[in-house]
């Protein structure tokens, strides 16, 4: 178990290192930050001075080692815009983002999983068809379209809710719903197909043949098995708590990490972008690690697999 855990952590660290490297390379290739930040009509001396100040005049590989060494010592650099610590800049936006993504996650789980289970248990019924139509719509309609649609109806037409900004909980309702519905649709589809798959298994027939009442067949025998694939999707959703709201934050002008990312990319604010990417990669990798450990808890076949291989 310890070896399994250490192996997973090592792989997670490698993944994060690759993301950091990739982000570094792409950002250096995608344009000159000095020129963009200083403006097109800045005097060349000023641009050069900016380059020297931020170390951009060094060879790329020197910059890379500086950057990587700084990360390892916990220094994520400073914003080229206002010179503030990039990590502080990013972390002070996290609460705003979580204020959207956490309630949205609750909607996804609270709505998606029951809907998927219900649809699977009443396959081909009217309710199943409605759930599936809604789920496919939620699956395919991009969040900015859904967001704009909700704004059009509830903010513009009905005037019930504000269309954007962050002055109170009422401002969060539309973005939370936008995020929650899309995710709930995805989760409903996955839960439904996982349940249908499990309900067709011979051990479900065995449970019925044993005289287990149907309700207990579902809760005791089907759900624990269907949870295994569903946990993967939930893990992905937990992993995107920080970065999953980029589009929705932009649509509703919500000052979270996603908005910060969009602005920082547009400004070539390297340290901030890299800091966000590092944060996103870390949460995603951590969520995956937790999912892997949960698999072991949920599925005894996976628990003993490494033991067998080691023996």
């Amino acid at each position: 178990m310890l070896r399994f855990l250490l192996g997973r952590i090592g792989r997670a660290a490698l993944t994060i290192a690759m993301v950091v490297t990739f982000a570094f390379v792409v950002l250096r290739l995608s344009g000159d930050p000095a020129q963009i930040i200083m403006g097109a009509d800045a005097p060349p001396e000023a641009v050069d001075a900016f380059r020297t100040a931020w170390g951009l005049d060094q060879p790329v590989w020197v910059q890379y080692f500086h950057y990587f060494g700084a990360i390892l010592s916990g220094d994520l650099g400073r914003s080229m815009r206002d010179g503030r610590d990039a990590l502080v800049l990013v972390t002070e936006r996290i609460p705003a983002t979580l204020a959207l993504t956490l309630p949205a996650l609750l909607i996804k789980i609270g709505l998606g999983i029951p809907a998927g289970i219900y649809a699977a248990l009443h396959r081909n019924s009217l309710a199943d068809r409605i759930v599936m139509v809604v789920a496919v719509a939620g699956f395919t309609v991009p969040s900015f379209v859904l967001g704009l649609l909700l704004v059009l109806v509830f903010a513009v037409q009905l005037g019930w809710l504000p269309s954007g900004g962050q002055e109170g909980w009422r401002h969060a309702i539309l973005p939370v719903i936008t995020l929650g519905l899309g995710g709930a649709a995805v989760l409903a589809r996955f839960t439904r197909s996982a349940m249908l798959e499990v309900l067709g298994q011979p051990y479900i027939r065995t449970a019925s043949a044993k005289g287990v009442p149907w309700r207990a067949v579902v809760t005791r025998h089907a759900l624990p098995n269907a949870a295994i694939p569903t946990v993967t999707i939930i893990g992905f959703m937990v992993g995107s708590l920080i970065a999953g709201a980029v589009v929705v934050e932009s649509v509703f002008s919500w000052p979270g990490v996603g908005r910060l990312l969009v602005v920082a990319v547009a400004n070539r604010d390297l340290a901030v972008v890299q800091c966000i990417l590092l944060l996103v990669a870390t949460t995603m990798v951590c969520a995956n690690l937790v999912v892997d450990l949960l698999y072991g808890l949920l599925d005894p076949r996976l628990r003993s697999a490494p033991r067998r291989a080691g023996a």
Partner: protein, 332 residues
């Protein structure tokens, strides 16, 4: 009517059982009795309705199956019975085990829990008492080191051991009838023999009746006193096992016997039955076997043949079954 030599009240009496899936008939009128304590074999090619008969009887078919007829267990009518009645019968008076033991056990529950679940449902035993009874059951079905095996998961056991666990679960409810649906098909030949021997031994010990569903006449012959041969959703021949082998009357039965290698006497070329089972949507108007039958005559295509009684406990659904030359040939 079944031709079984059942004296006294049968344990299970199936009459005119019909099942259709989405309008396509799968069972076309099954009459079958099972007496208390007897062993009946149900043979036929896959898709002939052997399993469907018992899944329908126990209410285990999906809702889209249209079921008609009667299935009486003692005084209880099972078809259309309320869920609570069926749940008491399933795993209680009638237990069922299946073809693929590895996937028939729940992969995320320990063996012990899967046995004690049945004990709690049918005998009201829980806690430590259930655990020790579960261990006794595992002992009874011949699983070594039963106490430790209670905490094992199905994937940690072999196929044969999993089938023994399935049998232990079946025994937990002290059934009057065990329906074994191809219990050895997925197992190695040596394990097959062990499982069959175990089933016979348990039948002697507990006095329960056994319905053995198999596509293998040889397996059934070793275990059962009476055999029903099914073809395309009907029982086409029923006879005591010795008689069926000595004097098969239905051409299909004889085809099946011809495909078995003889245990004694000179070696001969095994014969195959030409053609395939007709699809449910393309059933011939008369005898379903007529298109493949070497003894087919004109009237075979006219109407579905009714049962001909040939001797006590021997019936065959063939209009030529009583024709002298066929019988003589069969008796050879």
């Amino acid at each position: 009517m079944p031709a079984g030599v059942v004296t006294g009240a049968p344990l299970v009496a199936i009459r005119g059982l019909r099942v259709a899936f989405d309008g396509q008939p799968a069972l076309r009128g099954i009459d079958l009795d099972v007496a208390p304590g007897e062993a009946v074999g149900l043979v036929g090619e896959s898709g002939c309705g052997k399993s469907v008969t018992w899944l329908a009887a126990l209410g285990l078919l999906p809702a889209r199956a249209a079921i008609a007829g009667q299935v009486r267990l003692g005084e209880t009518e099972l078809l259309g019975a309320p869920a609570t009645t069926l749940e008491k019968v399933r795993g209680g008076r009638v237990a069922m085990i299946f073809q693929d033991p590895a996937s028939s056990l729940n992969p995320v529950h320990r063996i012990g829990r899967q046995i004690t679940e049945a004990l709690a449902l049918h005998r009201g035993i829980t806690g430590g008492a259930a655990r020790s009874e579960a261990r006794r059951l595992l002992d009874q079905v011949g699983i070594p080191d039963a106490g430790r095996r209670l905490d094992a998961y199905p994937h940690e056991l072999s196929g044969g051991q999993n089938q023994r666990v399935m049998i232990a679960i079946a025994l937990a409810g002290r059934p009057e009838l065990l329906v074994a649906d191809e219990p050895t098909t997925a197992l190695d030949v040596t394990i097959q023999a062990q499982i069959l021997a175990l089933l016979q031994q348990l039948r002697r010990e507990t006095g329960m009746a056994l319905v053995l569903i198999s596509h293998d006449l040889g397996v059934v012959a070793e275990t059962c006193e009476r055999v029903c041969v099914m073809y395309a959703g009907r029982i086409v021949e029923e006879a005591p096992t010795a008689r069926l082998f000595a004097a098969p009357a239905h051409p299909y039965t004889r085809g099946l016997l011809g495909a078995l290698p003889p245990m004694d006497g000179p070696r001969r070329r095994l014969s195959a039955i030409p053609g395939g089972v007709p699809e449910p949507w393309a059933m011939p108007p008369g005898c379903a076997f007529a298109p493949r039958c070497p003894h087919r005559i004109g009237p075979c295509d006219g109407a579905v043949p009714s049962d001909a009684m040939l001797a006590t406990g021997h019936r065959a659904a063939c209009i030529r079954a009583t024709v002298a030359p066929l019988l003589a040939e069969a008796a050879e």
